[in-house]
């Protein structure tokens, strides 16, 4: 399956409203990275400083987490200058957005399985 075939299949699934299959993502799941990805999933983009202040991390600690996600192609970092001030914008890539949706779906599946398990009983 070529990359374009896979992309076309993804678009078709979305058009049909078929949800992405659940996939627990170990890269996203740690709470700091999950917070970053969840915040970005609700946004088109956010500035580095916004994420840093929200998480209460140092610049270097946040950079490390962002680099991990960027290396996985989950997010993109745009650096630019506005009125002489350096701004860094962070946004999720389509790959990152899909990984997040699948992770959320996996978490919901865990909850659902637990509920069914409880109702059936030992």
């Amino acid at each position: 399956v070529t990359e374009s075939d896979a992309a076309a299949a993804l678009v078709t699934r979305r058009d049909r409203g078929i949800p992405d299959e659940p996939l627990f993502d170990e890269l996203i799941h740690p709470s700091t990275r999950l917070t970053i990805v969840a915040l970005l999933a609700a946004s088109d983009w956010a500035e580095f400083a916004v994420i840093r202040d929200r998480l209460g991390l140092s610049d270097s600690a946040l950079s490390k987490q962002l680099t991990t996600l960027e290396d996985a192609d989950y997010l993109a970092i745009d650096r630019h200058t506005v009125a002489g001030r350096r701004r860094v914008k962070v946004r999720l890539t389509p790959i990152g957005r899909r990984a997040f949706r699948r992770h959320v779906s996996a978490l919901q599946t865990i909850m659902l399985s637990a509920d069914i398990g409880e109702s059936v009983g030992p």
Binding site: H29, S31, L34, T35, A38, L39, A41, A42, S43, D44, W45, A46, E47, A49, V50, R54, V104, L107, Q108, I110, M111, S113, A114, G117
Partner: protein
């Protein structure tokens, strides 16, 4: 399925929802934005009273263009600095519907008010009608956004 798995999943889902709600809370505009919009609305009414359709149409086009650009940043942020852009899906369709409904209500109130003022022989009927609508924008804009945020949180 262990309890710790379930607890972990539950905490993660709560954390995700918490971030969504936080982003929704950032959707706001500073007070000056509503004051400026109100003043522009009254100004538009004053231009309409001049009675030159070409000038009115041009001013209206400029007003709508500028409003569209600025209102795109209804997420200007409370301090007026745009540091985050909320996703359209996060706000939901109801947010757009609320904004359009408010805009139509403002236009309707101004037209009806202008017709009544004109009937009463007011010298500047559109300006007269646009002043109370402008006051509503200045005082009510913040509440409209609060309503959009509340609906988005529930969606």
């Amino acid at each position: 399925m262990t309890h710790s798995n379930r607890r972990d999943a539950n905490q993660s889902l709560a954390l995700i929802e918490n971030q969504r709600e936080w982003v929704i809370d950032q959707i706001d505009a500073p007070r000056w934005y509503w004051g400026l919009l109100a003043a522009a609305w009254v100004g538009l009414g004053a231009v309409a009273d001049v009675g030159k359709p070409g000038l009115t149409a041009t001013t209206l086009a400029i007003f709508l263009s500028v409003s569209a650009v600025v209102s795109r940043a209804v997420s200007l942020g409370r301090q007026g600095t745009r540091r985050l852009s909320a996703r359209r899906e996060t706000v939901g369709k109801q947010g757009t519907v609320t904004v359009v409904a408010c805009l139509l209500a403002m236009v309707g109130a101004t037209i009806v008010g202008a017709l009544l003022a004109d009937h009463d022989g007011a010298g500047h009927p559109v300006t007269t009608a646009s002043i109370p609508v402008g006051v509503c924008i200045a005082l009510g804009g913040h509440h409209m956004l609060a309503s959009i945020r509340q609906r988005a949180r529930r969606s």
